[in-house]
Symmetry: C2
Subunit: 219 residues, 2 copies
């Protein structure tokens, strides 16, 4: 079976979201770099993969996919023989808990945390845009409220969807990884259960492997 292809720079957060799932299920894959600075994601060729001109895109034979969370779920379902069962297929209640905390990442956690990553890391390092401290301060206030709720939740459950690792947890990895490279990483020290959960994630071989190349982006 030919390896599946992921289109996009491996270090980009939304690309890493797909890669961590491919690593976790042990899939054979290839990363095809897309030159973001040269606007290759807006090229006619890439628009055939994703009409919205975003990354990542994904190819499995004749099947072309986009949207990182949808690609990730496809990968998990395709390789479902893997014992991890990261979407809890076959157990509606557990699968719904995975869905809930995946939605929380998209609509609550990430909107609070990712602006700090853009302002403190991506904008200054990659685009020479100075940090907007007002955006950082407002986001940190929102993030504290979110982390308080995560702390309470993770004091009762080892992982977000229950006492099992799932896509809901992995989905938090890329942006949190970059947050930990900002001067605000210490914030997590105030939430011991969240901190322990995060440490259990970064100890996983999949995340260690991807984190090594992602760390290069921040130095």
């Amino acid at each position: 079976m030919a390896p599946v292809k992921v289109f996009g720079p491996a270090a980009f957060a939304n690309v890493a979201r797909v890669l961590v799932c491919l690593e976790e299920v042990g899939a054979d894959y290839e990363v095809v770099d897309i030159d973001f600075m040269a606007l290759e994601h807006k090229s006619p060729e890439h628009l055939t993969r994703n009409p919205f001109g975003q990354i990542p895109a994904f190819q499995d034979g004749d099947l072309i996919l986009f949207e990182s969370r949808a690609i990730s779920k496809y990968v998990i379902h395709k390789y479902k023989m893997n014992e991890a069962n990261l979407m809890r297929e076959g157990n509606l209640k557990e699968a719904t808990m995975v869905d809930i905390w995946t939605e929380v990442e998209a609509h609550t956690y990430n909107p609070a945390l990712s602006p700090v990553v853009y302002e403190c890391l991506f904008n200054p390092l990659l685009q020479g845009i100075p940090t907007n401290q007002k955006v950082v301060d407002e986001s940190l206030e929102k993030l504290k409220k979110v982390l308080e709720i995560y702390e309470e939740h993770l004091s009762k459950h080892k992982y977000l969807a229950g006492d099992f690792i799932s896509f809901a947890d992995l989905n938090h990895f890329p942006y949190t990884f970059y947050f930990m490279a900002t001067p605000h990483a210490v914030l997590f020290d105030s939430y011991p259960h969240v901190k322990a959960w995060w440490e259990s994630l970064v100890a996983r071989p999949s995340i260690k492997k991807l984190g090594a190349s992602m760390a290069a982006l921040t130095t």
Copy 2:
């Protein structure tokens, strides 16, 4: 079997997202109103349903859920004997197309369209806040680009995920319904395939029924 419960005002867009799925699968349900103006969604009782203090929440026996898209998927999977199969369970390729266009709604369509709804409808009518025309204008420019891509896509497929109705389509209903009550509804006339798709949605009994009570909010 006791009816499932949906907590939140039925006319709220994220509540209507769940209700349209309940209607489509023919589930027996009850809406428990939450007084948003009295901040009942931040009450200790509601926080036990949703720790983030948002609506809707959902109850099926002992099971309490939140996040409207996750609840909707639960409803569709629970009542999967229904011939509609709105998540295309059992067909990975089709199910992934449903996931992709559900993600597009959340991350691309809704962020362009919903600010127009808030600025032209919800803010002035419900909160007495005047319309911010700059936000409206910027959102409409974004929305035009999104609708161009939808137009091209819907010229090849009857519905978003393929030639079958799915959750991806229904998911667009609540905010688009309210957009059609703003002065900018005419924008859709420039995109005939999008317009035809929308008209096929509002012709559905589920949407006719819910739309009747939602329309009361806008007059």
